[in-house]
Every structure is written in structure tokens, then in C-alpha cells.
Symmetry: C2
Subunit: 365 residues, 2 copies
Amino acid sequence: MSKDYIAARQKKLNSLLKRMGVEALLVTSETNVTYLTGFGGDSSYLLIGKAQTVLISDARYTIQIEEECPGLDVYIRPSTESMTTALEKVLKKAHLEKVGFESHVVTCSLLDSLSGITPAIQWTPLDSFVEELRMVKDASEIEETRKAVQQAQQGFGVLRAILTKDMTELQGAHELEHAMRRFGARQAAFDPIVAAGERAALPHAIPSEKRIGESPFLLVDWGAMTQKGYRSDLTRMIIHGRPTSKLEKVYNTVLKAQCAAIEAIGPGVTCKKVDSVARKIIDKAGFGKYFSHGLGHGIGLDIHEGPRLGANQSTELKPGMIVTVEPGIYLSGWGGVRIEDDVLVTRDGHETLTSVPKEFESSLL
Amino acid sequence: MSKDYIAARQKKLNSLLKRMGVEALLVTSETNVTYLTGFGGDSSYLLIGKAQTVLISDARYTIQIEEECPGLDVYIRPSTESMTTALEKVLKKAHLEKVGFESHVVTCSLLDSLSGITPAIQWTPLDSFVEELRMVKDASEIEETRKAVQQAQQGFGVLRAILTKDMTELQGAHELEHAMRRFGARQAAFDPIVAAGERAALPHAIPSEKRIGESPFLLVDWGAMTQKGYRSDLTRMIIHGRPTSKLEKVYNTVLKAQCAAIEAIGPGVTCKKVDSVARKIIDKAGFGKYFSHGLGHGIGLDIHEGPRLGANQSTELKPGMIVTVEPGIYLSGWGGVRIEDDVLVTRDGHETLTSVPKEFESSLL
């Protein structure tokens, strides 16, 4: 991560903190610590404010922090010192009066400890504060996401090339992850879903020992995570054998809904508007109640981030946001169809980052 | 997961809840929900008490819950209903007055919501309540852990067989994970650490593009996760080229400390006692300050569970606990040596579950 991007994020955060009337923020979310420092380890908190920025970590990470965060102030606690004691020392030294905390991350137990060790500090709950910043990606993050998309697509190419009817869902999932790693991914962005036939009716199916050849179609929902932690998220169907007219109808309904929703994406458009574009098409085809989840979500350092594309979401899309668009129809006992792409909101519309063909014909094996 | 084991866990929890004077517990930790129900998905909470046990989930998981938790009461919230609203409905229907919550898991924001929607309920913080139960494994969990150990050891066998000096740390890590999956693992228990030479001085090194042949020794810290989610955790060194006397000295110090600590394990022994056995040996050899972390930790559904083997831990070991024993010596700029096994506390002592040879000679490639 270039130091410039990190500095820009910290600067933006500090000006937001000032507006909230707090002197500093205690960042306890692992992902938010990574976002604000470039540090990829865990078990570490960041105190960030105008007067000081200090990472509180332990001796396992001393060298890694030097490598990943040159110039960052660090407090390394010895293995005999608890995180609470370390926080007490750092916070006392900082002489702060009003500090924000991530109320959607900080547990009740941790807040109890913080209040106990720092009676002079007024702790202010800030819900999803860094996450707000993270919704809009900077140029380095967009580049990482492109990389994650490429790793995922290359991996899928290998899976399609080596797929046999004897392979189990589980073997397919493992081959896919292994292939993405060969193209540079740190790991899969999440456990890939490889679900044959009726198992595809489970939107979050766990790959099983079922053989792929037992069913006429296969749903694959997968993504790659880059070395720096950014993620892609796609879904494609692979159809073998003679497709039924029901499958073709369900497939084309999902595809139509997905393409229309993508077309609707642009700056200033609300998330619920995009969701409704897809939902109306699926409703009209008579499958409304079988589309049982939101249309999509942001991706980045987490696989599910803001903004959410859902019926109640009034957030407006902004340039730099990256969202999945993934309508699905799930028919218990028969199976499910989902098609998913990753879409970047641009200044004058959108750019679909993913490019695996998705017409019904192209999904035939 | 056999229904009998699940029933026994729920029964034990209910009697502990009664002792704490609460009618029910809202379980929000994903792993604790799995432990108490057998359900392997996420985004779901469990309300458990003598009067009712109900899993609150969403439509993505309807079928999976039927498969994994036959007979369990389930509240499925529609995609348009938030978890908070779902909780409100379920809790109102349950007519409870005093309910425990997992204060080490529940965030400040969630507790605010809970208090808001259920003014009649007195919420009682219970820190690490289910985790206490989880520390002692039942027969089905011990069997799963044995499986996780076997998958890890078979995978390591493949890695040793295919290892070349041209391979990068990252390739080694990926081959290892792929091999474990071939032997039935769902995935690696955690991102494997494959660290050559001086990179092994980072206790939590992330595999890099460094070629293995560039350094005379390699640290591999890995484990497997079974399909049901149980984990193993091992560390071995692989030495190639002519070993230096420094390496041999460091290695044998760590090995001596590790073997002595394992020997000290048995029911009634405190965790800090076991830690001190290893620490004294490393201290005496002059490396005390280079052993910068605790001696070990419990393993199970999480890779780090209780009990912790550390200097401040007065918990007494009990039959059924499974802990790692993993002393290490880390010399910045030179490298590090760690050796790690998984040890089950038995009624009359202990059983080492892992069996990869660890004498200095056996680590020579």
C-alpha cells in the first residue's frame, strides 16, 4: 500500500473526527486497522487523532509492522501485558478527554474495561465510521479489486477446463481455490460455493460430496482475495446435458433482471432503486417470492461491505463504490440460478469489472 | 453432529443458566451457535432457555437448517425484515424477564438495540459463558480433532514429498492447503505459515515470494479444519543444507522445552505451570527474551480457544481439554524455531494427538 493513500485516508478520517467533536478514534476493527495503516496482522488496535496516531500491537508483529507501516508510531506490548493494560498506558500518555469508539465492533466487555481504566475519558459511540469512508474506493483499491477479479476469472477458466462429471462439488471448490492461488490470489475471497442441481436452491450451499454429473446444472459462486486483502465476488452457472425449458426460463429471468439492474447503476441513484429494478422483473415473471435476499453489496477488504443494494437502502451511489449485482431464483427441491458481477460506479455511470460470458448459451458445457 | 451430543450441550448450558439466575441466553457468537445446534451457517442467533430454544436465521439458510438441525425451532426472517425486528418478535413472544447476553461478543450497538426493543427484559452480561463449556471437549469433538490432525499430517507428508528449493513460501503454503483438502479437510485451519530462514523470526509470518532454497531452514505452522469445523495446529521445521551449530542449539532448546512442557500436562495442573516449565528451559539456555508469546492455547471450533497456556493463567487443566504446546525462539535477522503439537488432557495425564517426527535429525530434508 503506498504511503500516500494511507496518509490521505488518515487525513480524511481526522477531519471527520473533528466534525464529530472527538479528539481521536480508537479503531478496534481488524479490517479498519488495515485500511488506515496498511498493517495486515490481527490483535492490534489503532489510536488515531490529530495529535497522535499509534498502533498498539504485540511482539509477534514487530517486524511485520516495520515492513508494512514504515514511520508509524507503535506501542508493542510484551507477552505478559494484556491489551487492556497496554491501552491504559497509551491512553494515559495521550491525555485525551473525548475519544470515539467503534460501537458496532467494540463489545460490551471491552467498553466496560475502557471506561474502568480511563475515568477521565468520555467515550463516544461512532457506528460504522471508518466503514463510511471505505465505501468509496480510492485508485489503489480499484486497482486491487481489478486484480482480484482477474485472479477469480483466470481460476474459473481453469475450473471449466478441468471439470469432469465425476468430480464432487467439494473437489471443484478446492480446484478453483488452488487455481486462483496459482494466479496470485492470497486465498479465495470466501469459501467458494459449488452447488449442483437442487443444492443450488441453498443460496449459501456448502460444497458436498455430490458428483457434479448427477445434476444438469451447477452454480459456482466464487471470488479471489489479493495479497493485500481486496476481494472479488462472482456467480456463474455451468449447464451440461440438455437444458429444460424451465431452466432456460428461470435463467433468462435472472439474467434479464441482472442486466437491467447493472444498467440502472450510476452516481446519485439510490441502492433501493437498483434493487427494485431487478426485483420487478423477477416479480413480473412470477418468481418474486423465490428471490429471497438483497440484490448485492459492496466489496473491498471485507466480502460484505456497504453499500447494500436492498429494498430498504436509501444510500445514494457514488463514484468509486464497487458493488455486486446478484439476483437469484431459488426453487426448493429443484435448484437455483444466480448470476453475479462486480460493478464500479463511475462519474458518468458504471463499469462492469467482471467479464465472464453470461448468456444462456455460454454457460453450456 | 449427533443429536445426542447437541442435546447434552444444551442441557448442560441450561443448568448453568439456572445457576446464574437467568431464564435464557441470547447466543450471538457464530461458533457458539454452531456448538449448541450443529448449524454451520452464519448471521444467525440462538435464544436458548428451559422454556424454549429457537434459532433466528434468514431464508438463505432454511434448507440447511432443516438438514443440520432436525427438530430445532426456527424463526426465519424475510429478507425485508432486519435482525433487530426479528429479535423483537421472538423475544416478545417468549415473555422473558431476565436474559443473558454474550458481553464479549455483543457490540455496544447491538445491546443498545436490544435494550430499546425489549424494555421489559433485564439483560445480564455473561462473559465467555458458552466458551467455558467448550473448553472441555466431548467424545465427538475429540474424534473430530483426531480427524483434523490426520488431515494436517497427511497434507504435510505431501508437502515434504513435493518440496523443491525453487518453490516459494506462498506456493508451499498453497500446495499444503490443497493437499489437506484432498485428504478431506474443509480448508486449512488458518492461513498456513511457511517461512524460510530469517522470515521465521516473525511468529505470524505471511508466506511471501521468497524461494525456499534461499535459506537453510523452513518453518511450517499449519493445521486442517474438518468438514464439521474442528481444527488442528502444528509446527515443524524443515532443514536443508548443512545445519549450523547455532541452529542445532536453538532447535534443541525449543525441543527440550516443548517435550518437558508436554510431559507436565495432566488434570489439575495449572496452565501457568505448564508455561513455566517450557519458559524456564528456554530462559536457562539464554533465550528467554526471544520467546515472545504464550506457550499454547486450546483448539476446537476456533483456532484459538481456552484454556491459554500462559504466565498469568491459573486455570487448571481438565480431562477433555485439547491444547497446543508451541514454544519458540525468534532472533531478528537470523530466523526462528518453533515446534508445536496438539495435546489432549486425559484422566491420568495426557495424550499427544500429533505424531510428525520432531527430533532434529528428522527435520533434515
